[in-house]
């Protein structure tokens, strides 16, 4: 990709241009930060790191400001949240998704940004401002955006799908992949049912859970990152995943195709935030501003493959995904919804319902009906009762335990017998 080289060169130039203009902070304050350390906590593979002649963003930042960057990564929002909540760590910058930003704002984990130190915020277009998770644009600066869609393998699927219900299609039993995290999995069921992703009625979450249980009839495989391996190998016909990741999968398997289902999709915004405990706030703001430098943002957009909320990136004809209609579909073709923070009761309900879904065994599998002779498949709906599958395992374990006990008794008896001889 030649524009990667171009962007690397451009970035080198900007790295040496003094940045005395536009900042509210005095140059002397910025100079005083030399030698300090900035702790950044971001998603894995979510920053241009210098491979294939791309720009190494962290190294360029270190070079420009003389601030050391300690960079660590996480796999998902919940892991990041647990680690921060667990204490014992202190980062300056995190880049969570929308609903997690909102949750962290509610729980007072973030501090307001001083936008006078982030002049490059001007590159963020209006449509990514004032979103519901950070309505007054106080705590976060959009970093990447994107949407979930349906990936399918044209070698296995004859007719192009248009709906999420393809994931419930009995003709593709054993070759459907599904999100292995509750929020995204529920969102698909909620799309089909025409529900709001952020609705707070327990009953509607239960209905969505029923739909997810029904999906188990066609044995979907619940996957995280394995989706890349499986879709690229042609292992599955359908998988819901992010548009940006589809583009990298397609490079390895040209049979793959992508569609935004008509029922609507999840739209996400990952934003850079500064944590409450940050000891180097000015450096953190310089870093966020640096991420918004057009050349840096372009390098990141090329590397991450997700859509960029940066006017100078998506309007740049040099950009590999310039006017790409998967990353940047025209507005209004389908409904998009943002995930917002749910109240604790609903979050807890979602977790238990998800455990139920994962534990659900569809009727018709397992030979337990032979033993227990019941058409009582519906008992599986409620985890409280013994499912046929559980009865089967209980029976096996019971038989095994009996054999063990019998053996111990036998040995004991034999020992006594021998002693008596």
């Amino acid at each position: 990709m030649k524009n990667r080289i171009v962007s690397a060169l451009l970035a080198l130039i900007i790295a040496f241009v003094p940045c005395a203009f536009a900042f509210a902070a005095e140059q002397s304050e910025i100079d005083a930060l030399k030698g300090t350390t900035l702790y950044v906590y971001n998603w894995g593979e979510y920053i241009s790191d210098g491979v294939d002649d791309s720009l190494n963003v962290n190294a360029a930042f270190e070079e420009k400001y003389g601030i050391n960057v300690v960079y660590e990564t996480y796999d998902n929002n919940e892991v990041m949240y647990s680690k921060l909540k667990g204490g014992g760590v202190s980062y300056d910058i995190v880049i969570p998704s929308d609903y997690m930003i909102q949750r962290m704002i509610t729980e007072d984990m973030l501090q307001p940004l001083d936008f006078s130190n982030i002049p490059n915020y001007k590159y963020i277009p209006e449509k990514y401002k004032n979103l519901a998770h950070d309505p007054e644009n106080i705590y976060s600066v959009p970093y990447t955006v994107g949407m979930v869609g349906l990936i399918y393998n044209t070698a296995m699927v004859e007719e192009a799908p248009t709906s999420w219900t393809s994931l419930w299609d009995e003709n593709y039993s054993n070759s459907i992949l599904m999100f292995n995290n509750p929020r995204d999995a529920f969102a698909i069921a909620q799309s089909i049912l025409g529900m709001d992703y952020n609705n707070e009625s327990p009953a509607s979450w239960r209905i969505a859970a029923e739909l997810l249980k029904e999906q188990k009839n066609i044995s979907p495989a619940y996957v995280n990152d394995e989706v890349f391996l499986k879709m690229e190998a042609g292992e599955a016909a359908f998988a819901p995943y992010y548009a940006g990741d589809f583009l990298s999968m397609q490079e390895n398997n040209p049979d793959l195709a992508f569609v935004y289902p008509e029922e609507g999709v999840n739209f996400f915004v990952d934003g850079a935030c500064i944590l409450k405990g940050s000891k180097n706030k000015l450096a953190a703001e310089l870093y966020i501003n640096f991420l918004l430098e057009p050349e840096v943002a372009l390098a990141n957009a090329e590397y991450i493959c997700y859509a960029s909320p940066h006017t100078e990136v998506y309007s740049n004809p040099e950009y590999s995904y310039y006017e790409n209609d998967i990353l940047y579909p025209a507005d209004g073709q389908f409904k998009t919804q943002l995930f917002l923070n749910l109240k604790p009761e609903i979050l807890a309900l979602m977790s238990t319902l998800w455990d139920d879904v994962k534990n659900h065994v569809p009727s018709g599998t397992g030979n337990s009906a032979l033993f227990f002779g019941g058409d009582d498949a519906d008992v599986a709906d409620d985890g409280e009762k013994m499912t046929p599958e559980a009865q089967k395992y209980a029976l096996y374990i019971g038989i095994f335990a009996l054999i063990c006990i019998a053996y111990i008794v036998f040995r004991y008896a034999r020992k006594k017998y021998r002693e008596n001889i």
């Binding site: 495989a221 499986k230 977790s351 455990d355 994962k358 409280e384 111990i408 040995r411």
Partner: protein, 274 residues
């Protein structure tokens, strides 16, 4: 003299005592604390009551653990015996071969089983060359058990082998002199004498199999939720430390019960040998 030597014993043991207090006892206290409190820290039985719905998961985990342990034992016992019969040099090489896979990360090895077992995976494309239809192996119960057996087999082989290597050969000869045929020698002499190894092997395979969490996600396609998966989810996804802790507590108690049963087998073994 006596007090000095006991002081020395204490000094020598102190690194481990400090270690175990910090990293074994203290975490256990936390587990118990979290099990009986709610998110605000108030005492509650709610977490324990919530466990009822996880009974199927517990049963499945235990049964998978039992299956994996039995298969491991069936494979490991003859192998350990064969290794122990070789010359010392060959023994060293064979033991190294057993240990070799453990030099690589367990996660990577499990991930590569996925590539082997898939419908379009290495095994099925190999079979395809001979015109055999693909066999659906991934995302089945068998694949999960296979993953457990593969990962934990060395833990069964090593203890059995180390007992057998030290086995007093004159016992075997005495058994043969008394007219025992091969089967009798194995049944009456070798098995009873290697019982300590078998028991520790069973423990070392059963415990990690019951509590494993990664294997079932990758090889079972997330459809065979084991108790380890549920616990992992409580800590990583749901941020429900209390339920996670109570699940762990019950799992620990179950494992302790199983081990107590196991010890019945090795307990009166000395009496059996002679």
């Amino acid at each position: 003299m006596n007090s000095r030597s006991s002081l020395r014993t204490k000094l020598i043991a102190s690194p481990y005592i400090v270690w175990s207090v910090l990293f074994i006892v203290a975490p256990l206290i936390f587990v118990v604390y979290y099990s009986f409190t709610d998110a605000s820290g108030a005492f509650t039985f709610e977490n324990i009551e919530a466990l009822g719905k996880y009974t199927p998961t517990f049963l499945r985990s235990i049964w998978f653990g039992i299956e994996a342990t039995i298969i491991c034992l069936i494979i490991a016992f003859p192998l350990a015996y064969i290794i122990s019969q070789k010359t010392e040099k060959v023994q060293r090489t064979l033991v190294m071969l057993v240990m070799l896979p453990m030099w690589m990360s367990f996660l990577i090895r499990t991930y590569s089983w996925m590539a082997l077992l898939q419908d379009t995976g290495i095994i099925n494309s190999f079979l395809g060359k001979f015109g055999i239809d693909p066999i659906h192996m991934i995302n089945t119960e068998g694949a999960v058990i296979l993953g457990m057996v593969y990962n934990f087999l060395p833990y069964m082989i090593m203890p059995i082998y180390s007992v057998m290597a030290k086995l007093d050969h004159s016992m075997v000869e005495a058994c043969q002199d008394l007219g025992g045929n091969r089967l009798t020698v194995i049944r009456k002499c070798i098995i009873p004498m290697s019982m300590p190894g078998i028991v520790s092997g069973i423990t070392m395979v059963f415990v990690p199999s019951v509590s494993t969490f990664y294997i079932s996600q990758k090889l079972g396609g997330g459809s065979f939720d084991l108790i380890g998966d549920v616990i992992e989810r409580q800590f990583q996804q749901s941020y429900n430390y209390n339920l996670g802790a109570s699940l762990s507590l019950v799992l620990m108690v179950l494992i302790l019960i199983c081990m107590a049963v196991m010890n019945r087998f090795s307990g009166d073994e000395e009496g059996m040998v002679i």
